[in-house]
Amino acid sequence: MSELDEQLRDFVRRGAVPVPHVPDLLERVAAGQRRHRRRQVAGLAAAACVVAGLGVAGVVLRPAGHDRVPNPAASPACGTVTIRATGVDPGDPGTGLPGGLVLVLDGPAARTCAIGSGVRITVGTGTSATTGTIPPTFAPVSLGVGQHASVHASWRNWCGEQSPAVRIDFPDGSATESELGRDVPACTDPATPSVLEFTTAQLTDVQGGGQRP
């Protein structure tokens, strides 16, 4: 231990160092504690506001229908209509008797679906596709929940793919699709488009039968 070390140790422990007079130090500390507590409370309140705000914002900004139970009233009425069965009458080219197409529909899940003007039936895809639309003159058939309906159309001169798909588009934007079997009308004139014409639609009873595609 050097003399300087001793001098330093002695001085820092017992040396004549002027001590500032701070008579209000206790009050200053108490005030500082109060400020600290206020800041803590304010911080907690701010954090709570942020959390609550994020929660509210999350609810408000959440996309409608996202992660929620679908509201049946908000969805298209015909959105749940499906093609239960299909039937094709190839016709007789020899006698000129046109073929026919029958589609059996299962009713909607929630609301009545109108089978009427604007409903479009399409068979096939691409350039060979043919379409028939229900005319405005046809009185709509109301297909209720749990009901079934049959849609009839005449169909002739099919030169497209074998086992084509059939699709029904409803005016509310929904659609349903199925595949037809190999029984399709004969191709009588490849240069002429296939003709599909709506004839009628009606409610029908289905006892679990019908031809599945």
Partner: protein
């Protein structure tokens, strides 16, 4: 304020203010601020602090840590002041106490290391733990501080070697 803590503040404030004067090199305002901040820190952990065996040493170390942090934050100003102090030290003012005046001439970090070292008899490793820095930093600050003190006090360089002293163990405890 807790009555027990208020009594603690009242009893220890003079000792801590004096220690603050040592750390700050005689700045009464900064010393008062440091004492206040130290007591606030202790107050926040009073449940723990009141059970500490050596409350005085605990308070001094808290204050030293605060001063160390503040001096790091203001290092740019301190480096500028250090240059000015070196220039002024060549004049050789008449000091009432040579050691006190020499300590006042040191840069804050060097002074903090030396004060902690000689007040608490802390080893280099202990000082590093208190200040939250590397032992190498403590060693270099102490070495430079001692070299400056020797120069300011006109002490022969052969008088002692701080590096050897700093490797020693903590040997004592002094009240605030």
């Amino acid at each position: 304020m807790d009555a027990e803590f208020a009594a603690f503040v009242a009893a220890k404030q003079n000792g801590l203010l004096r220690y603050g004067m040592l750390l700050t090199g005689g700045d009464p305002h900064t010393s008062a601020d440091l004492a206040q901040e130290t007591f606030l820190r202790l107050g926040r952990r009073w449940r723990h602090v009141r059970d500490v065996e050596h409350q005085d040493a605990y308070a001094r170390r808290t204050m030293t840590r605060l001063w160390w942090t503040r001096s790091k934050r203001d290092r740019r100003e301190q480096l500028r002041a250090e240059t000015e102090e070196r220039a002024g030290s060549e004049v050789g003012p008449a000091w009432e106490s040579d050691v006190w005046a020499a300590l006042q001439q040191l840069p804050p970090r060097q002074r903090a290391v030396l004060v902690l070292r000689y007040y608490e008899d802390c080893s280099e490793k202990e000082i590093a733990e208190v200040l939250g820095c590397r032992p190498g930093t403590v060693k270099s600050q102490a070495s430079r501080g001692m070299a400056s003190l020797r120069r300011l006090l006109g002490v022969d360089l052969l008088d002692g070697d701080l590096d050897d002293d700093l490797d020693g163990d903590n040997v004592g405890e002094v009240g605030v």
